[in-house]
């Protein structure tokens, strides 16, 4: 079953506003990653947060992780039209053996209106 699920499925905001997307997952994780996908393109890695970290920043991005609630959020501050894209969380679940694989959610479609 799908490990990460993003919320909301779609988000539309005005340029300059902040955008917050949430990700919930089901099992314990080693790390959680956020990716961006522009229309018709491949995914681009944004940020990785480890299970022992609670918050991480990268430019206008802020990611939080609450392992007790099995959830993460991605905040984009001062959004720009160029931030319009789909955003995916991907989890690295704790499991035995060598079959470690990222599990992606179905994404949040963010539209930033100029």
């Amino acid at each position: 079953s799908q490990q990460g699920e993003e919320d909301p499925q779609a988000l539309s905001i005005q340029e300059g506003e902040n955008a917050t997307m949430n990700c919930s997952y089901k099992t314990s994780i080693n790390n959680l990653q956020w990716y961006r996908q522009n229309s018709g393109r491949g995914l681009v890695h944004l940020i990785l947060i480890r299970s022992n970290e609670r918050e991480k920043h990268s430019g206008r991005l802020r990611v939080t992780l609450d392992t007790s609630k099995k959830s993460s959020s991605l905040l984009i501050t001062a959004s720009r039209a160029a931030d319009t894209a789909s955003y995916f969380c991907a989890t690295d679940p704790v499991q035995s053996g060598s079959a470690r694989q990222l599990t992606f959610g179905s994404g949040t479609q963010l539209t930033v209106l100029p």
């Binding site: 799908q2 080693n30 790390n31 990653q33 990716y35 996908q37 018709g40 393109r41 491949g42 995914l43 681009v44 890695h45 990785l48 789909s86 995916f88 690295d92 060598s98 079959a99 470690r100 694989q101 990222l102 599990t103 992606f104 179905s106 994404g107 479609q109």
Partner: protein, 112 residues
């Protein structure tokens, strides 16, 4: 310089045909992946290939087979294509399992 490249970008073919998608990475990574993205944008891992170890997602039909001639290439071969195989296929690579992955631009496969 393109880090992860895939060819072709678009592939339209008839049901029952066999096709291949090629992937190359010039990042020196030791792990490569194939993902399938359906029409709802759900991204599903199909294979990962790390130091000659192939990890297969058990839900992938055996009509799909990855082939790695060397560390920089992981091609995807599909036999007896079906309508349900229509999707966008992404190749990716990383240094080590699970860490930051670099994706190719995708191959949109349409089976008629």
């Amino acid at each position: 310089d393109t880090a992860v490249s895939q060819t072709p970008k678009y592939l339209v073919t008839q049901m029952g045909n066999d096709k291949s998608i090629k992937c190359e990475q010039n990042l020196g990574h030791d792990t490569m992946y194939w993902y399938k993205q359906d029409s709802k944008k759900f991204l599903k891992i199909m294979f990962s290939y790390n130091n000659k170890e192939l990890i297969i997602n058990e839900t992938v039909p055996n009509r799909f087979s990855p082939k790695s001639p060397d560390k920089a290439h992981l091609n995807l071969h599909i036999n007896s294509l079906e309508l349900g195989d229509s999707a966008v296929y992404f190749c990716a690579s990383s240094q080590g399992l699970i860490y930051e992955q670099f994706f190719g631009p995708g191959t949109r496969l349409t089976v008629l």
